[in-house]
C-alpha cells in the first residue's frame, strides 16, 4: 500500500513539527532536530522536505511576523494537517505491526 508516502527524514520533520506545535518554522525545526537527534541538518534538505510535505498536503503553512534579526523577512510557520496526522499514524501503525510480527526469538541476540 502506497497510501501514505512518508520517508524517514520526512517523518522526522513531521514529528518535530508536531513537537514544536505552534512554533515550528525553518530555524526552530532545524535546531530541534539537531539538538534531539544529534545530527546536522542543512537548510536545503530541510526546506526541500518541508516543501514536499506541504505539496503532499501533510503540512500547511502560514506567514508569521517579520523580525529584525530576519532582515524583515516573515517566518513561515508549519502545522500538521488532519491528513498529515493520518499519514503519521499510518506510518506508526505499520511499524508497530511489523514490530509485533517479529518473532521474539529473533530479537534475543546473544552478545558474546
Amino acid at each position: 500500500m502506497k497510501k501514505y508516502q512518508l520517508g524517514e527524514f520526512e517523518e522526522i520533520v513531521m514529528l518535530t513539527v508536531g513537537i514544536l506545535y505552534d512554533e515550528a518554522y525553518g530555524v526552530s525545526i532545524k535546531k530541534e532536530i539537531e539538538s534531539r537527534l544529534k545530527r546536522g541538518v542543512s537548510v536545503g534538505a530541510l526546506q526541500t522536505a518541508l516543501k514536499r510535505l506541504e505539496d503532499k498536503g501533510y503540512l500547511k503553512s502560514r506567514e508569521g511576523e517579520a523580525t529584525e534579526e530576519r532582515a524583515g523577512r516573515p517566518k513561515k510557520y508549519f502545522t500538521i494537517t488532519a491528513y498529515g496526522k493520518k499519514a503519521m499514524e499510518y506510518t506508526k501503525s505499520t511499524r508497530d505491526e511489523l514490530w509485533s510480527a517479529i518473532p521474539k526469538v529473533a530479537l534475543k541476540v546473544e552478545f558474546s
Binding site: G26, K30, S42, V43, Q47, R70, R73, K76
Partner: protein, 881 residues
C-alpha cells in the same frame, strides 16, 4: 559593539534570490538571515559567511529552484483565457440565443463577403495584364455645339501610322486592332467557330500573354495565328500545335505560332480565342490602305513609356488628327468638331468607359456602389441583431457585472471582457460564414456571370478578413461592452436594478433602422422587377420568336445563295429568307449626310443605317404605318428608303411617304436622291431601355447576315435539324452557326436581370436576418414578462389580450420603419429610374405590399413567441424562482 549590522556576502544573497522559487524566497531568506546572525555571534563573520555560502549552495536543488518559465504571470493571458471561457459558457448555456446570434451574424458576414469578392472582382478588372497601369485605348473626342463629347473608340485608318511615325516616342508599344468577330478554324474535318481578332504584332508582349507553347513573337509572320489554350485543346488535343496548319473560314491557311492561356472572365479580351496579325488584314483587303480619315474602323491600343503619364502623353497627341486633316479638302467640313485624340487608361475600361452619345455614364460604377452598399447594410443588420440581443439580455448579466466590479474589475476590463465575448461570437460566425461562402460561390458565380474563387493564398484576403473581423467585432460588441460596463455595482447588487424606461429606446431605434433598411430593399427590388417586366413586355415592332440569324462566314454563302434559299424553302422548315447588313438586335452603322432641298436633316447626329434585301421586311415582320415595303418588281426601289417612325419624327417630315431626300456619303459611295417608300413602326434594335434611334433602311451594301423565318407553328427542335441539314449539304466546310433573335434580345437584359436577381436574394436575406433578430427579441421580452403574464392571466386576461399586448410594441416599430422607408425609397428610386427613357411608373401598390408584407412577417415572427407565452399555464410562471 558596532552599530553596523553584519551582512552575508552580497553575491550569495543575490544568487539565492535569483534561483529561489518566489513563494519560498522570503521565508527561507529569513531563516538564513536568522541563522547567519546567530553564527556571527558564535563563530565570527568569516565562518558565518562560509556557512551561509554553503547553505545557499545546498539549497540549490529541485523543489527550491523556481520553474524555468518563470512562476510569475508576466502577461494577463490567464485573464483572456477566462474571458473566453466565460464567453463560451454563456453561449452554451443559452443555445437558442447563440444560434440566432451566430447564425444571423454568419449570414450577414457571408453576404458581405460575397459582395466584397464581387466588388473586388469589378475593381480588379483587367489586372491580368502586367502592364495594367500603362496600357490605354486610344479614343476620339470632339466638340459639338460647345459640348465636349468623347468615347469613340473606332478610329480612322491613317491615325495608326500617324501616331507610330510622328508620336512614336510616347509609346513603348502601339498596336492597331480590329473588332472581335467570329471565324471558323478547321484542320482536316474538325471545324469550330471561335471569336478572334486581328491585332498588331506587339500586342502579345504589351498585353503580356501567358504563352504555353511558342513565344510572344508569334504574330511577326503574316500568315501566323495565335490560339488560346482551350482552342488548341479542341483542335489538337494535348499535342503541341506549334507549326501546325489551320484553315481559317475554309479559305486561307495559317501556321500556329503559339498557344496562350485563355483570358480570365474579368479581362477585356475574355473570350478572344485567336489572334491574327494586323498585317494580314491590310494585305488581304487592299481597299483598307486606301481609306482616309473619314472612315472609322479600327481600334488602337497603346502602352505608354515607363516614365510617362497618361496626361503628358495625351497632351502630346491631342491634336494628332486635327494637324493632318486641316490640309485635307475632303475633311474641311469636319474641322469644326475640333477632334481630339485621347487616351482611355486600362483602369477605366471596365467602369469608366460607358459613353452614351459622347458623355460618360456613371451606370457601371453606380452599380458597384449600389451592390456594395447592400453588402454593408446587410452586415449592419446582422450587427444590430447582435447588439440588440446582447443589450436585451444585459439585465441577466447585470449581477455578474456588479460582482466583477465589487471584486475589483475596472471598467476597461469589463469592456475587454464583453468585447472578447463578441470577438468569440464573431470568430465563430466568420468560420461559418466562410464555409457558407465556399458552398454558395459556384451558385453565385452563375447568377452574377463571374468567375470568382476564394483567394485563400492571397495575403490581402487574410489581412482584409482580419480587419473585417476586427471591425465587425468592435461594431457588434461596442454597445453592449460600453453599456453593460457602465452599471453601478451597488444598485445592481442590491437588486433594485431596473433597466429603466429609456433603456429600451436604443434597442427600438435599432429595430426601426433594421426594418427601414429591409423594407427599402424590398421596395427597390419590387420596383426593379416591375421595371424589368415592363421593359420585357415592350412592343418591339417585329416578330422575334422563330427568327433565326446566321452569319455569312464565307463567300460560299453569297455564291450559293439561290441554292440555299430553294433548299431551305423545300425543307418546309423556313417560310421566308432574307439578307441584312447586321443582326436585328443591333445597329452597327450610323451615317450622316442626309438633306432635303439643301436643308441638313442630320442635326449633328446622323441616322442608323442598315442595308437589307427585299424580303427583309416580310421575314422579320416589320409593320408599316404608311407607304409600302421594298419590291423586287420595281427596279427604282434601289434608290428607295424605308424609315422608322423615329426617323420620320426626327427629320420633321409631315407626310414622309413619297418625299425625296438627298444622301451624300463617302464610305457608302453615294451622292444621289432617294425616295421614301414607307414608314415602319419603331423596331427596338438596340437597348430596350432607350428610345428607338432614327433608322434608315435601304437595299444597298454588303449584307453579312441571313435572316430565316421558321415556319410558324413548327417547334424549334423540329425545324433546326432540317435547317442544319440544308446548310451542311450546301456549304459543308462551315459549321452551322446561328443566333436566335429572341435570345439575343434577352441578352440585352442580362445586366438588369442579374441586378434584379441579386437584389432579390439580398433583400430576402436582409428580411430573414431582421426577423431572426426580432424573433430573439420577442422571445426575450416574453420571457422577461413571464410573471406579469401569469398575473394577468390569473386576473382574467384572455390569450388574445396578451397576444395584443406583447405584439403591439413591435408592430408599432415596424409601422414606424415603413413610414420612414417609403418616402426614402421613393426618392432613391425616382432618381435611379429617371435615367431610363422607357420606364414604368413607380406604382404605389409596390410600397403598400412591401409594408404590408413586412407587417405580416413581423406579426408571424412575434406571434409565435407571444402566443406561446400567453398560452403558458400561469401556475408555472408564477412559481418561477
Amino acid at each position: 559593539m558596532k552599530t553596523e549590522k553584519p551582512y552575508p556576502p552580497k553575491f550569495a544573497t543575490r544568487f539565492f534570490r535569483w534561483y529561489c522559487h518566489p513563494k519560498l524566497r522570503d521565508s527561507i531568506e529569513g531563516d538564513l538571515m536568522e541563522l547567519y546572525e546567530e553564527r556571527v555571534k558564535e563563530f565570527g563573520k568569516r565562518k558565518a559567511d562560509g556557512k551561509f555560502i554553503k547553505d545557499v549552495l545546498l539549497l540549490f536543488r529541485p523543489g527550491i529552484i523556481r520553474p524555468t518559465e518563470g512562476y510569475r504571470h508576466l502577461n494577463t493571458y490567464g485573464m483572456y483565457k477566462s474571458y473566453f471561457k466565460i464567453g463560451w459558457r454563456n453561449l452554451v448555456k443559452n443555445k437558442g440565443y447563440s444560434l440566432i446570434n451566430i447564425g444571423g451574424l454568419a449570414l450577414g458576414m457571408a453576404v458581405a463577403m460575397v459582395i466584397g469578392l464581387w466588388v473586388f472582382d469589378e475593381l480588379s478588372f483587367n489586372k491580368y495584364h502586367q502592364n495594367y497601369s500603362r496600357i490605354a485605348q486610344v479614343m476620339k473626342g470632339g466638340w459639338v455645339d460647345g459640348k465636349h463629347l468623347m468615347g469613340q473608340t473606332s478610329l480612322p485608318y491613317p491615325l495608326i501610322d500617324e501616331l507610330k511615325n510622328n508620336y512614336g516616342a510616347n509609346f513603348k508599344h502601339i498596336v492597331p486592332a480590329s473588332w472581335k468577330s467570329d471565324g471558323v478554324l478547321s484542320i482536316d474535318d474538325k471545324k469550330i467557330s471561335k471569336v478572334g481578332m486581328f491585332i498588331g504584332e506587339d500586342a502579345p508582349e504589351m498585353l503580356t500573354f501567358k504563352m504555353i507553347y511558342g513565344t510572344r513573337q508569334g504574330l511577326k509572320d503574316m500568315n501566323s495565328i495565335l490560339i488560346s489554350e482551350s482552342t488548341a485543346e479542341a483542335l489538337f488535343g494535348d499535342a503541341d500545335p506549334v507549326n501546325q496548319l489551320v484553315k481559317i473560314n475554309s479559305e486561307k491557311e495559317a501556321t500556329v505560332t503559339g498557344v496562350y492561356e485563355d483570358f480570365p472572365k474579368n479581362a477585356e479580351f475574355y473570350g478572344v480565342q485567336f489572334f491574327r496579325p494586323w498585317e494580314f488584314l491590310i494585305n488581304d483587303g487592299t481597299w483598307i490602305k486606301e481609306q482616309g480619315w473619314d472612315n472609322h474602323f479600327l481600334e488602337i491600343y497603346a502602352e505608354i513609356q515607363p516614365h510617362a503619364t497618361f496626361e503628358s502623353v495625351t497632351a502630346n497627341i491631342i491634336d494628332a488628327e486635327v494637324k493632318v486633316i486641316k490640309d485635307l479638302a475632303y475633311m474641311k467640313d469636319e474641322l469644326k468638331y475640333n477632334y481630339e485624340i485621347l487616351l482611355l487608361p486600362m483602369s477605366d475600361w471596365h467602369l469608366h468607359s460607358d459613353f452614351k452619345e459622347g458623355v460618360l455614364q456613371s451606370g457601371p460604377l453606380q452599380l458597384v456602389w449600389f451592390i456594395g452598399s447592400i453588402g454593408v447594410f446587410v452586415l449592419l443588420l446582422a450587427c444590430i441583431n447582435f447588439m440588440n440581443l446582447s443589450t436585451a439580455r444585459s439585465e441577466k448579466r447585470a449581477k455578474e457585472v456588479g460582482i466583477r466590479k465589487a471584486i475589483g474589475s475596472i471598467r476597461w476590463q469589463l469592456i475587454g471582457q464583453f468585447l472578447s465575448e463578441s470577438f468569440l461570437v464573431v470568430a465563430l460566425a466568420f468560420i461559418i460564414a466562410t464555409t457558407l461562402v465556399v458552398m454558395v460561390l459556384p451558385m453565385f458565380n452563375q447568377l452574377s456571370g463571374k468567375e470568382m474563387n476564394m483567394p485563400w493564398s492571397q495575403p490581402w484576403f487574410w489581412v482584409s478578413s482580419f480587419i473585417f473581423l476586427f471591425i465587425t467585432g468592435l461594431l457588434a460588441g461596442s454597445y453592449p461592452a460600453l453599456y453593460l460596463s457602465s452599471f453601478k455595482p451597488v444598485s445592481v447588487l442590491k437588486g433594485v436594478f431596473r433597466a429603466g424606461r429609456f433603456a429600451s429606446i436604443p434597442r427600438r431605434i435599432l429595430v426601426v433602422v433594421q426594418f427601414t433598411v429591409s423594407v427599402m430593399l424590398i421596395i427597390c427590388t419590387g420596383v426593379i422587377y416591375n421595371q424589368l417586366v415592363f421593359i420585357k413586355n415592350r412592343p418591339v415592332g417585329y416578330q422575334r420568336d422563330g427568327l433565326l440569324m446566321i452569319p455569312k462566314k464565307s463567300a460560299a454563302f453569297s455564291t450559293k445563295a439561290d441554292a440555299l434559299e430553294a433548299e431551305l424553302k423545300n425543307s418546309g422548315a423556313v417560310t421566308e429568307i432574307a439578307e441584312s447588313g447586321g443582326m436585328v438586335t443591333s445597329v452597327w452603322s450610323g451615317n450622316g449626310g442626309f438633306s432635303q432641298n439643301g436643308k441638313d436633316l442630320n442635326q449633328n447626329r446622323g441616322f442608323g443605317t442598315l442595308g437589307v434585301s427585299h424580303d427583309f421586311g416580310k421575314t422579320v415582320g416589320w409593320q408599316f404605318i404608311e407607304g409600302r415595303d421594298f419590291s423586287k418588281e420595281i427596279a427604282s426601289d434601289s434608290s428607295g428608303l424605308v424609315i422608322n417612325e423615329a426617323a420620320a419624327k426626327f427629320m420633321g417630315l409631315k407626310n414622309p411617304t413619297g418625299q425625296v431626300i438627298h444622301w451624300k456619303n463617302g464610305p457608302w459611295q453615294v451622292d444621289k436622291d432617294f425616295v421614301i417608300l414607307g414608314v415602319i413602326k419603331d423596331m427596338v434594335m438596340e437597348s430596350p431601355f432607350e428610345p428607338v434611334e432614327p433608322i434608315v433602311y435601304f437595299t444597298m451594301g454588303w449584307k453579312g447576315w441571313l435572316m430565316l423565318r421558321v415556319t410558324p407553328g413548327m417547334p424549334m427542335q423540329e425545324a433546326l435539324p432540317k435547317i442544319e441539314k440544308v446548310f451542311n449539304n450546301v456549304i459543308p466546310d462551315i459549321p452551322f452557326d446561328y443566333k436566335f433573335a429572341n435570345t439575343e434580345y434577352a441578352a440585352k437584359f442580362s445586366t438588369e436581370d442579374r441586378i434584379g436577381k441579386l437584389a432579390a436574394v439580398f433583400a430576402i436575406l436582409a428580411i430573414v436576418i431582421s426577423c431572426l433578430g426580432l424573433f430573439g427579441l420577442a422571445s426575450f421580452v416574453a420571457e422577461q414578462r413571464t410573471k406579469e403574464i401569469g398575473v394577468r392571466k390569473v386576473l382574467g386576461a384572455s390569450v388574445a389580450n396578451l397576444w395584443q399586448m406583447l405584439s403591439k410594441e413591435f408592430v408599432i416599430l415596424v409601422i414606424l420603419s415603413c413610414v420612414i422607408a417609403v418616402p426614402l425609397s421613393y426618392y432613391i428610386l425616382y432618381n435611379g429610374i429617371k435615367q431610363y427613357e422607357y420606364k414604368t411608373d413607380i406604382s404605389w401598390w409596390i410600397f403598400a405590399s412591401a409594408a404590408f408584407g413586412a407587417l405580416v412577417i413581423t406579426l408571424a415572427t412575434v406571434s409565435y413567441q407571444s402566443i406561446k407565452a400567453a398560452l403558458a399555464n400561469p401556475v408555472n410562471s408564477l412559481r418561477t424562482e
